[in-house]
C-alpha cells in the first residue's frame, strides 16, 4: 500500500521510500524515515496530502505520497 491510498485519520508506519535519492534524503531528514509512525491528517488541493509526524505536519504532493510504501501498524 502506498501513502496516497491511506484515508485521513489512519495511522501507518513508513515501509520504504521509492523516490529519487534527493527526494528520499529530504524525507528522511525531516523525519519521514522507514519505521516512522505517521498519521494522514487530511487531503488537500490537487491530490496533496498532509501527514502528522510527532508534533509537526508535513505536506506532500501526490507523486511523493505514491512513492512512499506504508503498512498498518
Amino acid at each position: 500500500m502506498h501513502l496516497a491510498e491511506v484515508s485521513p485519520g489512519r495511522e501507518v508506519v513508513i515501509g520504504a521510500l521509492h523516490g529519487t535519492p534527493d527526494a528520499s534524503s529530504r524525507l528522511r531528514e525531516i523525519g519521514l524515515r522507514p519505521g516512522a509512525l505517521i498519521r494522514v491528517v487530511q487531503r488537500s488541493t490537487f491530490g496533496a496530502i498532509i501527514v502528522a509526524h510527532g508534533f509537526s505536519s508535513v505536506a506532500l504532493d501526490r507523486d511523493t505520497a505514491r512513492s512512499i510504501t506504508v503498512a498498518v501498524p
Binding site: A23, S25, R28, T45, G54, F55, S57, V58
Partner: protein, 634 residues
C-alpha cells in the same frame, strides 16, 4: 587537538567578523533570536560569491561587541540547495574561532538533532539553544535542556527567543565556547556525504532522543483545525485567491496614491525650495540647476517614492510568512506553478509584480531556493505593472476608442502568457548548480502564530536601507546620465540645458535608433525617444512623447493622440492600429523601469541582470515585429 585545516585564512567579506553563526532548520525562530540578540545593529548582506542573503549584526555580549551571522535555514549540511550549501560553506570557511549556535525546536527535536549532529562534526565549538519548550509541554512532552545537553554532549540551554529577557542564559556557554578551539572536522563539509555518515548521524539522533521522555500521542491542535479550512481541497484555492487579490489591491490601490504623492512632493515643493535655495546662493538658473532639479532631485524622488510601497509589500509578506500562511500558499499553488517549474510560493512575487515590479523582485526572497528565486526574478519583469497601464491607456484610447478595454485585457493575457513561456524557457536557460531541477513538494508546515512585529520591523528596515544604498545609487546616477543626454546640444548652436530635445544628444540618438523600429511599424524618432525614456519608467514614456511633440500631455491628451495617429499612419505604411499594438506589446515586454533593473542587480547579481535585460529587449522587439507584421495583414 588543533585543526590544521583551520590554518587556511578565514573567509573574507561579511562572515570574517562573525564570531557566532546561527544555524537551524527553517522556521525554528532563528531570525527572531538574531533580532533579539542584535536589535537594530544589523544589515543584510550576500553570502560570498552568491546572491543568498545573510543577516549580520553585533551582539553586546558581556560588554564586548560580538559579530553574529544569521545563516539560511537548513535541514542538512548535505546540501541539496544553494542555501544549504551557503550554510555548509559558512561553517567550513568562516572565522575558525567562530561558534555555531544551533537553534533546536523542542516540538521537532529529531529533525533539529540531525542537523546538530552534522554541525558538531564540523569541529566547531557548538552551543545549542532549545526553544518551544513551553509548546512541547502544553502538548505533553516535558523537555529539559540539562538532560538533553548531557545526552548530546554539548552545552544546551533553553529560552524563548521572543522573550529577550531569558536570553542571558546564552551568555555563559557562548563565552566559554568562544574560548574553545576548533578541532578537525570529521567529515569534509562541502561535497557529497557518505551513507555511512548519514547512518551514524541518524543513530546518534536516536540515541539522544531515546534518553529523553517520549512524546504523548499527538492531539489535534488549533493549527490542524485552521488547516482543515485553509488546506481544504475546495476551500483552500478560493482563500488563496482572496489573499492574492488583497496583495494586488495593496500594491495598486493603497500604494498608488502614496507613490504619486511623494513623487509630486519631490517635483513640487521640494524642487521649488531647492531652486530658490540655489538662487539665494547665487548658483541658480542654467545647467547647474537643471542638473540638481531634473537629474539628482528627480532620482532621489524616485528612490523615496518606492519606500512606502516596499514597506507595505514587505509588511504584507512578512505577516504572511511569520503567521505560517506562506507555507500553506505553497501547498495550494504547488500544482499550478509546478507547470512552469516554480514553487507554489512564486505566485506571491508574480502577483506583486502586477502592481509594481520593484518590490516583486525583492519578494522573490520568500522562495526557499536560489535557483527558484533567480527564475522568478527573471520572470517578474514580464508581469504587467500598473505603470505600463498608462502607456496602454494612451494608445488604446487613441487607436481603439471603441474597444480599449478588450485591447488592454489582451495585453494582460499576453503578460500571463509571457510569464508562463518565460518560466519554461528559463528552466532550460538557468543552470541547476546541483539543485534538483524539478522538485517534489515536501514541506514542513509551521504552526500558525502571531507574527513577531519587532523582528518584522527590523528586517523591513534593513531591506529599505539596502534598497536606498544599492538601488538608490544606480537610479540617481542613471537619471543624471539621462538628464545629461537631453541637456547636451549636438546641433543648432544651443547652450547646455537650453537645447530643444530634437537637437540634444538624446534626440539625435533617438533619430539614429529609429530605423531599428521600422519592422515594428514604429520607425520614428519620437517613438524611439519615448521607448528610451520608458527605460527609466513607463509613465515617463508618455511624458517624453508629449515633450518631443511639444504638446501638452496633460488633460485629455487629444493633441498628443492626434500627433501619434499621424506619426504611426506614416511609419506603418497605412496600418497605424497594427503599429499601435506593436508599441503596446513592446512596452509590455521590455525593461519595466530603472528601479526594477537596480533591484534585479541587487537580488540576481550583475550577470543575470544583464542577461535578463537583454532577453527582455529581444523578446519585446521580436514580439512587436510579429504583432505588427501579422496585424497589418488582418
Amino acid at each position: 587537538m588543533t585543526c590544521p585545516a583551520c590554518e587556511t585564512p578565514p573567509a573574507s567579506g561579511p562572515l570574517a567578523e562573525a564570531a557566532v553563526l546561527l544555524v537551524g532548520n527553517p522556521n525554528v525562530g532563528k531570525t527572531t533570536l538574531f533580532n533579539a540578540l542584535t536589535g537594530a545593529h544589523q544589515r543584510a548582506v550576500n553570502a560570498p560569491g552568491t546572491t543568498i542573503e545573510l543577516a549580520v549584526g553585533t551582539w553586546a555580549l558581556d560588554g564586548a561587541e560580538v559579530g553574529v551571522a544569521d545563516l539560511p535555514g537548513a535541514f542538512s549540511l548535505d546540501a541539496r540547495s544553494l542555501d544549504e550549501r551557503a550554510v555548509a560553506e559558512a561553517l567550513d570557511q568562516a572565522n575558525p574561532a567562530a561558534v555555531a549556535l544551533v537553534v533546536l525546536d523542542g516540538t521537532a527535536l529529531p529533525r533539529s538533532l540531525y542537523l546538530l549532529a552534522q554541525v558538531i562534526d564540523t569541529g566547531r565549538p557548538v552551543v545549542g539553544l532549545l526553544t518551544m519548550v513551553d509548546v512541547a509541554r502544553d502538548r505533553g512532552l516535558a523537555l529539559d535542556a540539562r538532560s538533553l545537553s548531557r545526552a548530546a554532549g554539548i552545552p544546551i540551554v533553553s529560552a524563548d527567543p521572543r522573550k529577550r529577557s531569558g536570553l542571558q542564559v546564552l551568555a555563559a556557554p557562548v563565552i566559554a565556547a568562544l574560548a574553545a578551539t576548533r578541532v578537525a572536522p570529521r567529515v569534509p563539509r562541502v561535497g557529497p556525504v557518505s551513507e555511512v555518515d548519514v547512518a551514524r548521524w541518524f543513530a546518534w539522533v536516536e540515541r539522544v532522543t531515546d534518553s529523553l521522555p517520549s512524546a504523548a500521542p499527538r492531539r489535534t491542535t488549533v493549527t490542524d483545525r485552521v488547516d482543515r479550512v485553509l488546506l481544504h481541497p475546495w476551500v483552500g484555492v478560493p482563500v488563496f485567491l482572496a489573499v492574492m487579490w488583497g496583495l494586488f489591491e495593496l500594491c495598486t490601490r493603497v500604494a498608488g496614491p502614496l507613490i504619486s504623492g511623494i513623487a509630486s512632493f519631490a517635483g513640487g515643493p521640494v524642487a521649488d525650495s531647492v531652486s530658490s535655495g540655489l538662487g539665494w546662493l547665487g548658483i541658480g538658473g542654467g545647467w547647474f540647476e537643471g542638473l540638481v532639479i531634473d537629474g539628482i532631485l528627480t532620482g532621489l524622488g524616485v528612490v523615496f517614492s518606492f519606500l512606502p510601497l516596499l514597506a507595505l509589500v514587505f509588511t504584507a509578506l512578512g505577516v504572511l510568512d511569520g503567521s505560517g500562511y506562506l507555507a500553506r500558499a505553497a501547498v495550494v499553488a504547488d500544482r499550478a506553478m509546478r507547470v512552469i517549474g516554480l514553487d507554489g510560493r512564486a505566485v506571491l512575487p508574480l502577483m506583486v509584480g502586477f502592481g509594481c515590479n520593484v518590490p516583486a523582485i525583492e519578494a522573490t526572497r520568500v522562495l526557499p531556493r536560489a535557483r527558484q528565486r533567480l527564475i522568478a526574478g527573471l520572470l517578474v519583469p514580464y508581469t504587467s505593472c500598473s505603470a505600463r497601464l498608462t502607456v496602454y491607456l494612451l494608445l488604446a484610447a487613441a487607436f481603439f476608442p471603441g474597444s480599449a478595454g478588450t485591447v488592454i485585457f489582451g495585453l494582460y493575457l499576453t503578460s500571463v502568457a509571457l510569464v508562463a513561456i518565460g518560466g519554461l524557457a528559463f528552466r532550460k536557460l538557468v543552470p541547476t548548480n546541483g539543485e534538483p531541477e524539478r522538485e517534489s513538494l515536501v514541506l514542513v508546515l509551521p504552526p500558525y502564530q502571531w507574527p513577531d512585529l519587532r523582528t518584522l520591523w527590523h528586517s523591513i528596515a534593513a531591506r529599505l536601507r539596502g534598497f536606498m544604498r544599492e538601488a538608490g545609487a544606480v537610479i540617481v546616477i542613471a537619471l543624471v546620465a539621462m538628464w545629461a543626454l537631453a541637456a547636451i546640444p549636438v546641433r543648432g548652436g544651443y547652450g547646455v540645458a537650453e537645447v530643444p530635445i530634437a537637437d540634444s544628444a538624446f534626440g539625435v540618438g533617438a533619430k539614429a535608433a529609429a530605423p531599428a523600429l521600422a519592422p515594428l511599424g514604429l520607425g520614428d524618432w519620437h517613438i524611439a525617444a519615448a521607448l528610451a525614456s520608458g527605460f527609466v519608467a513607463k509613465e515617463v514614456a508618455v511624458g517624453a512623447l508629449a515633450e518631443t511633440y511639444a504638446v501638452d500631455g496633460t488633460g485629455d491628451g487629444t493633441a498628443l493622440a492626434t500627433r501619434l495617429r499621424e506619426t504611426l499612419a506614416e511609419t506603418s505604411g497605412g496600418h497605424p492600429r497594427a503599429a499601435a499594438l506593436a508599441f503596446m506589446v513592446f512596452a509590455l515586454a521590455y525593461t519595466p523601469c530603472l528601479a526594477t533593473v537596480a533591484q534585479m542587480k541587487r537580488s540576481l547579481g550583475r550577470r543575470w541582470t544583464t542577461i535578463g535585460v537583454g532577453v527582455q529587449l529581444v523578446v519585446a522587439w521580436v514580439l512587436g515585429a510579429l504583432v505588427f507584421q501579422i496585424a497589418r495583414l488582418l
